[in-house]
Symmetry: C3
Subunit: 307 residues, 3 copies
């Protein structure tokens, strides 16, 4: 039973619970009209203390497509925070008005505190560089829908593996399924942190390789997960300029890849995937955005207990 | 008949009209489903020229829970105001689109001007340090629901009694009911203004006492209304720091109070009520927030004429 | 068939297509309840990279009054743009969530690019000083509703004819109908651009006169279209102050006009129409705002293909 639960960390739910959500998402995708009124009378509050139009829209349209309604803010300055109120108080008041809350916050741990005080389910919609669990649900649903299941794949993850929170969560999540292998492609400066290698990959006996160049390994991949090199993560501009173009997927590199490899990206992209790649049918990142809406529909329907 | 009226000043409505709203709120609380579609096809515009997430959410969720819809802004800079338009023109245009308007404005009197030009009902959602009538409705409904009626209580009001607009309105409103007494607890610098004493309390022969310390009088109270010491009301930071902690409700002081005293607060609080008090069943300020939504549902249903 | 089309330029639709929209608007005005659920399950995204409350509210309430839903932003800084994403990518992602998009952008041509990449209809809600096609639809519907048709009128256009985009579009649009004449009233500095004279008026053998003073020509007009002298279009403040009051409609000038002349204005006005004129029944600019909502209802119903 997921009813009434919160989702703060991508690992909060068991594999069975995830499967419950994915199966519901499958059915919503097949029969959207059957779900178009199930959340009638329910209200989602989107509390975005940090702007993220994409994520906010995904939550909001998900709720609307379930027949529910939305209120929210997308900027911290339009909140009572400026009057010195704590997150705990804000959440308790918003919980008087709304039935479920999606919260994005620049401070790590803020959604966790919110969940401690809330009488309604809290969904972490991103807390600083920490967690972004609905992105992980999105990634998993996308792979599951296109590949058929979440096992037996060789997954290449390319770009900023040091700071990219979606990457860490994806590795953790896919490590729970069977026979997955990872090829971790990044410059030295942005390699995967040691704790992921030790505590997740090695501890669970997961096969992984580190690589420096995308073109050297792309032929082995079933899934290629590209990530944005975020300017704001760099300590100086020089490093950023030197590195940002190093891990770009273009048509040339793509020719070396399997015909059924799928390309994912959490978006927004800057230039790490060339626009000419968009036409290739292996490019699944816009589909992925759509699956993100469907998985949020399934998630909220479950947490609200309306299915 | 409240249909088509505006609510600008807490005293705009007669006691009978208030009773009509409170009775409807009672019924909405008991049978929310019966009211979940009555405002279908109606649109509330929330015009917040000054941010106030809490108040905005309360109005918006109230409208949504009646089956209506919402549009709005929460920041002055995203409006046509920057192009030099008057409030009168804005209101007339918004009145072409929406069926009812909730307006918060930093300038005293702006909602009153709006109501003069509007063809749809205007609700004052706070105008500067002036009026905030739906907060008063909230306070009254809360007392009425928990105490059973609005008469025969000793009400302690603690904190900033000089600048706190909700306090002035509450005193005026409760002075219209029978046998209420006030104990006004504040530092010298933040005492209740003379015109409230003379024109409201003395004129209506209402019993009141002024006190300096909460602990000296708390044992006599049926209702304790705590208020925030608003930093922005002080002329210098030094005064603020000296005074802000003077009137804090904690567990120790609460031990002296009656077992059925109720604690109210318009929220947000900063530190004037200790967090440990939240657990006490006399703490009613979160319930109060919830009643705020219900009373706005009743108010809007009446002004729209959909019940 | 307008289903699936975008509206970027006021001239994108043929006269027949416009007529289809206007006829639907007529019917919506007569029987709003019949249309109050036709867009159930559809979502409009309002992407306002530049604030415009009036236009945004008009689109949003239009969608809500069709039974659809809305998501949106009204400020550029709350978007993913700050992370370096292109309009093309934003549109493709938003198109995964929403069924139709209204976009306002400070850059000319941005909505056109959006339409190239979008899988859902795009409506240009204003792109810089360039186009604002739904304003033109609004102007046309208003004239058609009040005058009965779009032919045989003498239209005076007064104010800033150089920079005013709505004026240029209106002239183009009305030039497609029969026997219309224009009287173009402006100071020398803000005269209509040559290309409008040459490529639209002269090329189509449309009668037009240029005038310097409103009082000299007002008696001849069937329609008077007033425009705001926009401060932001002037190169220096001195010029603005000297010119802004030159073309003000007041009661005195209005006495010279025909009894059935109609006064239009795209709003917001600053002081180019005296407030005392509002009482005159020839003042149609608030009706015009209302027609703006109805024409957007008709437009979106057609583009969504729900009628």
């Amino acid at each position: 039973m997921l009813k009434g639960k919160s989702l703060i960390d991508p690992m909060d739910f068991s594999i069975d619970e995830l499967e419950e959500i994915f199966k519901l998402a499958d059915d919503i995708i097949e029969n959207p009209e059957q779900y178009s009124k199930i959340a009638f009378g329910k209200i989602l509050a989107t509390l975005f203390y940090e702007p993220s139009t994409r994520t906010r829209f995904s939550f909001e349209t998900a709720m609307l497509r379930l027949g529910g309604q939305i209120v929210g803010f997308s900027e911290p300055n339009s909140t009572s925070v400026s009057k010195g109120e704590t997150v705990a108080d804000t959440i308790r008041v918003v919980g008087c008005y709304a039935d479920i809350i999606a919260m994005r916050h620049p401070k790590e741990g803020a959604p966790k505190i919110a969940a401690m005080y809330s009488e309604v389910p809290i969904i972490n919609a991103g807390d600083g560089g920490h967690q972004h669990p609905t992105q992980t649900l999105t990634d998993l649903l996308t792979i599951r829908k296109i590949k058929g299941n979440l096992n037996n794949s060789t997954i290449g993850i390319c770009g900023d593996l040091k700071f990219g929170r979606t990457v860490h969560s994806l590795i953790k999540a896919l490590s729970r399924y069977k026979n997955n292998k990872f090829i971790l492609i990044s410059p030295n400066e942005l390699k995967i942190p040691n704790y992921i290698k030790k505590e997740i990959l090695e501890k669970n006996n997961i096969d992984f390789v580190e690589a420096k160049k995308l073109e050297d390994v792309i032929e082995n991949l079933d899934i290629l997960y590209m990530t944005r090199v975020q300017k704001e993560r760099f300590f100086n501009e020089e490093d950023y300029i030197r590195l940002k173009d190093s891990y770009i997927l273009d048509k040339e590199k793509l020719e070396l890849a399997k015909k059924d490899m799928i390309i994912l990206h959490p978006l927004p992209r800057v230039n790490e995937i060339d626009y000419e790649v968009d036409e290739d049918e292996r490019a699944c990142y816009f589909k992925q955005a759509k699956f993100g809406m469907y998985v949020r529909m399934a998630l909220m329907a479950k947490l609200l207990g309306v299915v």
